[in-house]
């Protein structure tokens, strides 16, 4: 087993490295698609399990594309997602933080954040995924393109459109 080359996905340390490199991104990707936190955790785990089963067939360079594709399909197979639940942290303490000595983090900001969350949930899925991968996971467009098997240009277009769309949606909330 040690004779496996390190760029072989079946090589356990390689597989583990892939896990640590991509687990968070795969999991968050599922959230951005509309899964809730538990679903996202479970489906990400399932995607990695599939990768292990297919490790002999998946070349190292294709592993992350594989993970995203599988995760995406798994999400589709799940029951209907009528409502998009974003895995944002609930900032319970902000209200109390805002009631004294804290004029800069005011209620306006808080309110805008709430509206923004609602607006993001209303974005078309493809735009939302690209938008949040860039904003929340801090991924470069080229990285997102590689994960989603898109051209950089296509990612940029979705990103641009997401912003335009968000602003429009916000106006109506």
């Amino acid at each position: 087993m040690d004779s496996l080359p390190i760029n072989n996905v079946c090589h356990e340390p390689t597989y583990r490295e892939l896990f640590y490199a991509h687990a968070r991104h795969v999991r968050n990707f599922l959230c951005y698609k509309g899964a809730n936190a538990t679903e996202a955790d479970d489906l990400a785990q399932e995607a990695f399990l599939r990768l292990w089963r297919d490790c002999a067939k998946v070349p190292f360079e294709k592993a992350k594309g594989y993970l995203f594709a599988v995760a995406g399909n798994l999400f589709l197979d799940e029951k209907k997602h009528e409502q998009v639940v974003l895995c944002f942290q609930r900032q319970a303490t902000t209200e109390e933080a805002s009631n004294d000595e804290n004029p800069h983090f005011d209620l306006e900001t808080k309110e805008l954040q709430d509206r923004l969350e609602k607006a993001i949930a209303q974005l078309p899925e493809k735009q939302r995924v690209v938008f949040l991968m860039n904003r929340m996971d801090k991924m470069k467009y080229a990285e997102i393109a590689a994960y989603l098997d898109l051209s950089v240009k296509a990612v940029e277009k979705r990103m641009h459109l997401a912003l335009v769309e968000l602003r429009q949606i916000l106006k109506g909330i």
Binding site: D2, N8, F19, Y20, F88, Q91, D100, L112, L163, R167
Partner: protein, 369 residues
């Protein structure tokens, strides 16, 4: 659809990636001009600023890996029959803490020594050294050894750290891991990588006291005095938001909201920090109080520094990635800037490039020439 939007926005040149390139910092002077003339530009700025305040919920790859481990083990057993590649070594060493994990749902005493074990057998996150020797050992033996070690470490832990009052409830993070802890009064503590937090749940009503070794961000609810005990001094607040960095000979406290009192270990020096101030206690001595160099933001996946020694910068890198940084001498220079906590190569570049250091990532080691 796209065309509609372009009509709405009256964009010159039909630029359908302008906003995207703006965010990437990839605009020519003409583009910038176009951007400023874009309808709704101030709203975009405001929107993006508000977005900065949103955070993803907590997800620990380390925990997720531990959860996946037993399932992989099963797969492996099935694969073995089919004569396919197997999971040995790391897997077997890790199955021990993984099992413990499931029995101890709430992190209590048991988790303290357990986390210690995790540290020994598995320097956790990202690239780690595989202990090849462990592949030779069989699994059961390892489990027994781990159990014994667990006991030993546990005893050592609680007997040697009496003065540090890690009492009945303790939490610990591994390299690259952040953990959010909710205290009995609803106060929230976020632990940075390689940090420990302890408190006595039973005595909580008598006084809100926690012990910290490492770094943590506190959102303390209003109420009776809230005390953070560290080896380098103590921090007292009534109810506020603050960050405590207590490692080695240094205690650094940043006050983000309200007021924070910092006391040196001998209680001979004391300073009251207001919002937007910070102070350092170095080897027991209180340093000059200063304005906040930056708002603590490590829990957003970035480690930021202002005039920090390279030792501290690379120390943080070791903790965030579970790697070892090797350097002959880092000198006296200081670093101002930040690195990301999710991409080692990028992080190394973000520090080494501006410092003109020749750095190299070799597996789980960063070598500085």
């Amino acid at each position: 659809m796209e065309n509609n939007h372009h009509d709405d926005d009256l964009q010159p040149g039909n630029d359908d990636t302008l906003l995207a390139r703006w965010l990437a910092g990839d605009l020519s002077p003409e583009d910038l001009e176009a951007l400023r003339n874009l309808e709704g530009y101030p709203e975009y700025v405001e929107m993006l600023a508000a977005l900065e305040g949103l955070e993803m919920d907590e997800y620990s790859p380390t925990l997720a890996w531990q959860k996946l481990q037993p399932i992989l083990e099963k797969e492996k057993a099935e694969k073995e029959v089919g004569n396919s590649p197997t999971l040995v070594g790391v897997g077997s060493a890790q199955s021990v803490p993984a099992e413990l994990e499931t029995t101890a749902e709430t992190p209590e005493i048991a988790q303290q020594p357990e986390a210690k074990i995790v540290e020994i057998t598995q320097p956790s996150t990202a690239p780690t050294i595989v202990n090849r020797k462990s592949q030779i050992l069989n699994r059961q033996w390892l489990a027994i050894a781990a159990t014994v070690l667990l006991g030993v470490v546990g005893i050592w832990w609680f007997s040697s750290r009496d003065n540090f009052s890690f009492t009945d409830t303790a939490y610990q993070t591994n390299a690259g891991e952040n953990k959010e802890v909710k205290l009995p009064d609803g106060s929230v503590v976020t632990l940075n990588a390689m940090s420990k937090l302890g408190f006595a749940e039973a005595d909580w009503t008598e006084g809100r006291k926690v012990a910290l070794d490492g770094e943590a961000y506190f959102k303390a609810k209003k109420g009776k005095t809230f005390t953070v005990q560290t080896e380098q001094g103590s921090v007292q607040v009534v109810g506020t938001i603050f960050n405590v960095y207590a490692r080695g000979e240094e205690l650094e406290v940043k006050c983000a909201e309200g007021k924070v009192q910092v006391t040196n270990p001998e209680a001979t020096e004391r300073v009251l920090l207001k919002k937007g101030e910070q102070v350092t206690v170095l080897r027991g001595r209180m340093q000059q109080r200063q304005g906040l160099s930056f708002y603590p933001n490590w829990f957003k996946g970035e480690s930021t520094f202002r005039s920090a020694s390279l030792e501290r910068v690379f120390g943080e890198m070791e903790r965030q990635y579970g790697v070892k940084v090797l350097a002959d001498s880092l000198g006296e220079r200081t670093f101002s800037g930040k690195f990301v906590n999710n991409d080692l190569k990028k992080a190394v570049k973000m520090v080494c490039d501006p410092m003109k250091l020749n750095c190299e990532v070799r597996g789980d080691t960063v070598v500085i020439h």
